[in-house]
Symmetry: C2
């Protein structure tokens, strides 16, 4: 990163019918001290109205600038996906993506969307990750960052019965390479220590309970080791996460969603941040959805959004300081 | 249980080539105060010799009686499975099973075995659970009990790729029924609150990522509810375990090994106790194996064995007190 220019973190507000705008307002109002700039892509007039309705302070500060994406607050249907909301979301993403591509912003923090809104607006199968991966032509890896754990996922949002068939040595290798680079780039860990979970009980117990450890995971680990990466495994997930808490690993690689998400949610409820690895910039988001059931009531907890913002600021800020 | 007679907890020493004898000695020497009797099925002379070698106190007390199963300490090959060791293990199990059947002992705490020893002694595919289930003609359920969590398993030691195919509504129903009865019997919970995990990410998210929740788990939960059981689910595992920590559930039902074992090991390392549900008596064991790599050195930690003994004593002791 260029330490001579202003580093800016972009923030999008997510679906205007969800809790996104609310948690953005709350997170901005209680943002941590930092030395960067923030650029928020949001419906400024609507946000002012809602802030008054919910009794929230308007976020002030010279570190803060707004890119107005107008939205008619009068037409908001809290909690309901809509094509109009989906179009608005796509507009805000486009504005942020243009600024990312132009080097105007250097990180992106995104509030939660509703997939249905994007679908109804004609953007099928779109979510933040797919949009950004396509826009910036990279392979991405989902990771969760908490105060005590870093977890990267080889597979994530697929049925459990498909995990074993989708899993391949190539996929494990690619996931770890991407995660490894980001541990160095974003977390400034010179030689990351990475451990890969097994798939089966007791990591297969020497082939007694499944062969994916020997057939798929171990060859991948060997290849990564031959590239000079400090990668170990496969080993039982329950052991690796425990060791990670004792700082034996900088990252645990989970093979499927629940394997990594159970420890994350169990240990750091509300403080887990989703970090998309593999992009040319930092992208974080809170560890929750648009919560349609409580949208518009002013009662949403901003912990996740605040943690996502804090992590992006922290990574970028560390990047301009000599290590 | 008959509060008029003496209640006795049996203890077996596991494979004589593993850490079993050592952790039994250590656990007995530091056993909690209790009002019951203990009957240990062990190689008394060999144990006396080893206690001296390892500098361990000999467990004394009027609550303690020994059933000697002779073993030639001179022929011990630490860490190595052997047919002789397997025959000795089977002998100790038989002695304990006879006493269980005769009502001489009312709970069994077992130290870890090596499966290879039993195999070489002609007992293929035997472990404690299979032996006891066959001997007492019952269906059993594996559960883990820790100070903060109770978890029962619908499937356990099978490859992950087989979980979805093995899973059935009937299996979920049977597992919960057995666990439910033992929560009442052993933990004296009048109306247990039980939650069943989903199989897929976000418990399938309404069918978006897998259909086992709707097709298999929900019908099982409905059937159990119609029987009057306070069972909920399916719900995402990461949510249920968090709620269990906040005392919302008396038991979480995991659908496969890692789903339940990750939270157990992460939260209560060394204090998790394996409780076999469904037997006519209490059976506990430590949450670790025979540790061949450190057997015979006197360095094994007895925490798991001590916790297993303490839980059996506690359950039995509570059983003789009016609730």
């Amino acid at each position: 990163m260029n330490s001579g220019s202003v580093l800016r973190v972009g923030v999008t507000c997510g679906d205007p019918h969800g809790i996104g705008p609310e948690v953005v307002l709350k997170a901005l109002a209680t943002r941590p001290a930092h030395r960067l700039s923030l650029r928020v892509y949001g419906p400024v007039e609507a946000l002012r109205l809602w802030a008054r309705q919910w009794g929230l302070p308007w976020p002030e500060g010279t570190d803060l600038e707004w890119v107005d994406i107008p939205w008619d607050a009068g037409h908001t249907q809290w909690g309901r996906p809509s094509a109009a909301a989906g179009r608005w979301v796509a507009q805000s993403w486009e504005a942020a993506a243009r600024d990312l591509a132009a080097g105007e912003i250097h990180a992106l923090v995104t509030a939660p969307i509703m997939k249905k809104s994007l679908e109804w607006a004609g953007h099928f199968l779109w979510d933040h990750t797919q949009f950004l991966a396509a826009r910036f032509q990279t392979r991405t890896v989902m990771s969760m960052i908490t105060p005590r754990l870093r977890v990267a996922f080889v597979t994530a949002h697929i049925p459990l019965r498909r995990v074993a068939e989708v899993l391949s040595s190539a996929l494990v290798v690619e996931t770890v390479r991407i995660a490894y680079r980001d541990l160095i780039r974003w977390f400034r860990i010179a030689e990351p220590r990475v451990a890969v979970c097994g798939l089966n009980p007791h990591a297969g117990e020497g082939g007694l309970m499944g062969d994916e450890e020997e057939r798929v995971v171990r060859p991948a680990v060997r290849m990564l080791q031959s590239e000079g990466l400090a990668v170990e495994g496969p080993a039982p997930a329950e052991t690796l996460f425990r060791q990670a808490l004792e700082d034996r690993w900088d990252l645990v690689v989970a093979l499927y969603h629940d394997q990594g998400m159970i420890p994350v949610k169990l240990l750091d409820f509300g403080q887990g941040v989703n970090l998309t690895m593999g992009l040319p910039f930092v992208r974080t988001s809170p560890d929750h959805g648009a919560a349609p059931d409580i949208a518009g009531q002013g009662v949403a907890r901003p912990d996740g959004m605040r943690a996502a913002l804090a992590l992006a600021l922290q990574i970028l800020d560390a990047g301009r300081t000599p290590a």
